[in-house]
């Protein structure tokens, strides 16, 4: 059976690459050190492929037909999307996909009653461009992207996201080659309110609560307490991106998450953090 070699989650706010210089020097330093440390954790896990779960930002999943999850099945991905280049200020990049793994996820999920959409033409904005820039700057670890509907109601519930993450891990273990090493990555959050009246504010109280909750490793409690309503109240337009973290957690189950870094810079308009779950 293939191996889930670990799971991580991190924030992907565009200011992390686009205007990080506006944050306080110590905040810049802490975030850069944290993201580099997480990059070393990724590399030390020696994954053959990263399965990434991230908010789609209503970029690929159309408003008239919005699936909860869309698996990227292409052999190669290019980013960032053209319109997002000025915004993110990351170099153009190419990263391999893994068509066979992606197709396996779709095919086997169907048998479990989970209907994934799939696509070969996903555009990446900050959702994968920011994490890849810091974690795998050589873009040398293949990525199977899974774009999620985290912001267009009705949203998938935390429980559904957790169970989908668990199904992804089970499918990988049961249906992929024994030598394959897979890392699960969730991206998004923490509290932020793009499009709302609190866009210029951050919410460290919620962020700390969430990170402490993840540290319990009690998935049932996390699913029950971190409700859609609580996330929306913490920052309407973006905090529900943490559904991607909950999906990543589903791949490892009842394991405590360890916080690698956390800052809440108003200049980035988003709580910024990163966690790692103990190797699965």
């Amino acid at each position: 059976m293939a191996e889930i070699v670990g799971a991580i989650a991190l924030s992907h706010a565009p200011g992390m690459t686009g205007w990080l210089d506006k944050a306080k020097p110590e905040v810049q330093r802490n975030l850069l050190e944290g993201y580099r440390k997480l990059g070393r954790i990724v590399r030390d896990a020696k994954p053959d492929v990263i399965v990434g779960l991230a908010n789609d930002h209503i970029l690929n999943l159309p408003v008239d037909n919005t699936p909860d999850f869309c698996v990227g099945t292409a052999d190669v991905w290019r980013g960032p999307g053209d319109w997002f280049k000025d915004w993110l200020k990351v170099p153009d990049y190419t990263v391999k996909g893994n068509r066979e793994l992606a197709r396996t996820l779709v095919r086997e999920a169907d048998k479990r009653g989970i209907k994934f959409a799939f696509s070969e033409t996903l555009q990446f904005d900050d959702n994968f461009s920011v994490p890849l820039y810091y974690l795998t700057p050589d873009y040398d670890i293949p990525l199977v992207p899974i774009h999620m509907n985290c912001v267009m109601p009705p949203l998938p519930s935390p429980r559904h996201c957790f169970e989908t993450g668990r199904a992804i891990a089970e499918i990988i273990r049961d249906h992929r080659p024994a030598s394959e090493r897979v890392l699960i990555m969730g991206t998004g959050g923490l509290a932020h309110d793009p499009g709302g009246p609190r866009y210029f504010e951050v919410n460290p109280e919620f962020d700390r609560w969430f990170l402490d909750l993840l540290a319990t490793g009690d998935s049932e409690r996390i699913i029950n307490e971190c409700t859609i309503e609580k996330m929306v109240a913490a920052g309407d337009g973006g905090t529900t991106e943490l559904l991607a973290w909950i999906a990543a957690m589903g791949a490892v189950g009842d394991k405590p998450a360890r916080t690698i870094c956390y800052e809440a810079p108003p200049e980035l308009r988003c709580g910024m953090g990163a966690v790692v779950w103990h190797p699965a």
């Binding site: 159309p62 408003v63 319109w83 337009g237 810079p265």
Partner: protein, 106 residues
């Protein structure tokens, strides 16, 4: 306002979805938004609010919140999207100042 208030059928939502994905369409929109808004069958009220960057009204109509700051970038550009940028100043005027919310701390 809020994500729960989104009207997925509102033509403005479909237009912004497409414009960000297609640089040729974006360039046409940037040059002259009127023909693009006509193509997507925006109502007169939607067109007026888009052209005025009246984000609060667009929000009340059911534009997804995530699209509101993106609309400011469609008009003012995306580079250096920090809190003092033209795009964020436009956002602040239309949403934050109008809501009477204070606490702009960045």
């Amino acid at each position: 306002m809020g994500i729960q208030n989104t009207d997925r059928t509102l033509p403005t939502n479909r237009m912004i979805f497409d414009v960000r994905r297609d640089m040729a369409l974006y360039n046409r929109f940037r040059q002259n938004p009127d023909p693009v808004m006509d193509q997507y069958k925006l109502s007169p009220a939607e067109k007026a609010a888009v052209k005025a960057l009246d984000l609060a009204t667009l929000s009340e109509m059911g534009v997804h919140p995530y699209f509101l700051p993106q609309l400011t970038r469609l008009f003012h550009g995306s580079a250096d999207n920090h809190n003092a940028s033209a795009a964020l100043e436009a956002y602040y005027r239309s949403i934050v100042a109008r809501e009477g919310v204070r606490g702009r701390n960045g």
